[in-house]
């Protein structure tokens, strides 16, 4: 379960969403449930109490309700503008849990939920220009020949720590 073995992607949005107007990416949501099973009780409560409010607040989202015996284990099926489909099992969930789940589906973009490699995306990485070694250096260096007598920096002059006596002319020492 390492992140290297799992799929990953770069941060993106669907069709430049947010640059102009924001558009809700949820296209259609379907509530598949059973009228009689106990596991569907939460879905039934949600449909009775909260579904109409949700539909009114989000006029761009198409809401379908599919009651059928085969949906004893209820699911929420969300379809998005980019064509992706997300199925969420809603069995044994309470009404409030289903409400938060539906809100989450509404706020998602439909892109795959995978690890994002970078927390940002930009089409304009540089504005003042990429750094190169001659940035912020004197422009005379462009026509300079190396080695130069006027370096931009140099090692500090080191003074000797020990001053050795220079030998006399006839190679004798004063000691």
């Amino acid at each position: 379960m390492t992140s290297r073995s799992q799929p990953s992607a770069f941060l993106r949005s669907v069709l430049q969403n947010g640059v102009g107007r924001y558009i809700c990416q949820l296209k259609r949501i379907t509530f598949q449930f059973c009228k009689h099973s106990g596991q569907s009780r939460g879905v039934r409560d949600y449909i009775e109490n909260d579904l109409v409010d949700f539909a009114r607040k989000n006029p761009g989202v198409v809401v379908y309700v599919q009651p059928h015996q085969k949906y004893a284990q209820p699911t929420l099926v969300a379809e998005y503008l980019n064509g992706n489909l997300r199925k969420v099992e809603a069995l044994k969930m309470s009404k409030d849990e289903i409400k938060t789940k539906v809100e989450l589906l509404r706020a998602q973009s439909g892109l795959d939920v995978v690890r994002m490699r970078k927390p940002m995306h930009t089409d304009n990485p540089t504005i003042q220009g990429l750094w190169n070694p001659f940035t912020n250096k004197a422009s005379h260096l462009n026509i300079e020949t190396f080695p130069t007598k006027n370096p931009t920096w140099k090692y500090a002059e080191r003074k000797p720590t020990l001053r050795l006596e220079e030998p006399n002319e006839d190679n004798t020492s004063n000691n």
């Binding site: 949005s13 924001y22 973009s109 995978v114 940002m120 930009t122 504005i127």
Partner: protein
Amino acid sequence: MAASISRCALLQVCRFSSQFTRFQTKQFHYGILNRILPSRLFTTSCAKLDRSAITVPSVNLDLEDVERRLTLPERRRDAVVSKVNADIQVNASRLFAVVYIHRQQFKITAGDLIQIIDHIEADVGDKIRLEKVLMVGGDNFSLIGRPLLSRDLVEVWATVIEKTETPTKIFFQKKRRKGFRRWVEYKDNLSVLRINTINVTTVTEDN
């Protein structure tokens, strides 16, 4: 001058160290004073002081001179400010900003996407203003805040375009041969912002 500094420092330290006479021994005096004053001859008590033995390099600290050098003369500052303001008004270049959100800093321009691993109160589609701006710049200028720029100077607006969850992460701990194993699956809230605009007003004394 040098000797008076040394005696002054010595007396201050003696006053300080007297608080500790209950806990400290004479070793305390030696330690502190030997660090402050390079003394070759130091007797057992503070009172006996051989001034001739102690040498301290004299420090000429002209505070007025230092302050004069550190502060930019007003006419130079005004020249720089007027150049920056002219560039802001005339050369409408693409601006970048360094913004602080949720313990992270991002360098952003208009049209960027940002991901924050946190729940944002704003609803999807809402416009929010990012107020903690550390730096702003264009083609020919940069404004650096200390540490933040004034709210009147910069405006950064963003739209919340997505509020999801990260994929399931696993927090696993094990200590071998101890029967200790912990497997926790968790999901973090995730918010994606689209940066819409960055606006800079002219630089004045107030901002």
